[in-house]
């Protein structure tokens, strides 16, 4: 899933689809996990290799901040070091949100992608996000 820091990015300006991440305003703002191969493979299978590779090549030109570890990236996005992350491990983000909710100070908003898995891609409606996550 894609994640962004709600202090840095207004909900109205948040990316709504993967294609939005290719906009110039995201250049240099996004963290990227250096072993996100399953995410990469999922999108290539979902879109087909031609469309998928075209997207990936343009994404690679967005001056991504490549890091190792979903926990680290989650923490850095929450701290405001990076405005967003291309793809994060969902449970990792939710654990972080749960810890933050305990402080009544939620920092992260999650956006489930309709293409994050083949199962998810079959949905006709997005998964409702509990209000406490936003």
């Amino acid at each position: 899933m894609t994640a962004y820091n709600t202090r840095l990015i207004a909900s109205t300006a948040a990316p709504r689809a993967y294609g939005d991440l290719l906009e110039p305003r995201w250049s240099g703002q996004l963290a990227f996990e250096q072993t996100a191969i399953e995410w990469f493979a999922t999108l290539l299978r979902h879109w087909g290799e031609d469309k998928g590779l075209a997207f990936m090549r343009r994404l690679a030109g967005q001056n991504l901040k490549i890091l190792n570890g979903n926990t680290l990236i989650t923490q850095l996005v929450a701290a405001g070091e990076h405005a967003g992350a291309v793809s994060l491990n969902g449970p990792r983000v939710e654990l972080h949100q749960a810890a933050r909710r305990a402080d009544q100070n939620g920092l992260l908003s999650i956006r489930r992608s309709s293409t994050s898995s083949r199962l998810a891609s079959r949905r006709t409606r997005p998964i409702p996000t509990p209000p406490s996550f936003i």
Partner: protein, 120 residues
């Protein structure tokens, strides 16, 4: 489920081939997808690994050093980007593979919970 493990887990311990037959009947009725762990699975996974590294200009240290580990990593990789809901067994997991796998199982079970809720 890795098909090759059936022999080790259900036939050799008991020595009874009928145990495997009964188990296989249950598996088929449950519509479990059987995965043959062979070179083609590894090659498909490595195809994506190479594309990923080329596009993002990354050099990732290989997770595996032996054929057995290569099969395990490929199986986990296949599961991660497939529509399978649950991976029943893998031969052996390196720690990074295990972390990825357990995180993904949680995600996929969450999706199943959601779908089940919708169905009810």
């Amino acid at each position: 489920m890795q098909e090759t493990l059936l022999e080790e887990q259900f036939v050799k311990p008991s020595g009874r081939t009928d145990v495997k037959s009964a188990f296989m009947a249950k598996i088929r009725n449950a519509k479990v997808q059987m995965i043959s762990v062979d070179d083609s699975l590894s090659e498909r996974w490595e195809h994506y690994e190479k594309l990923f590294q080329n596009i993002f200009k990354l050099t990732i240290a290989p997770f595996y050093g032996a054929q057995k580990e290569r099969s395990s990593v490929s199986t986990v990789g296949y599961f991660l980007f497939s529509s399978c809901a649950l991976l029943l067994s893998v031969v052996e997991l390196c720690s990074s593979g295990a972390r990825q796998l357990f995180g993904t199982i949680r995600s996929k079970l969450a999706v199943l919970d959601y779908l089940r809720g919708r169905a009810l």
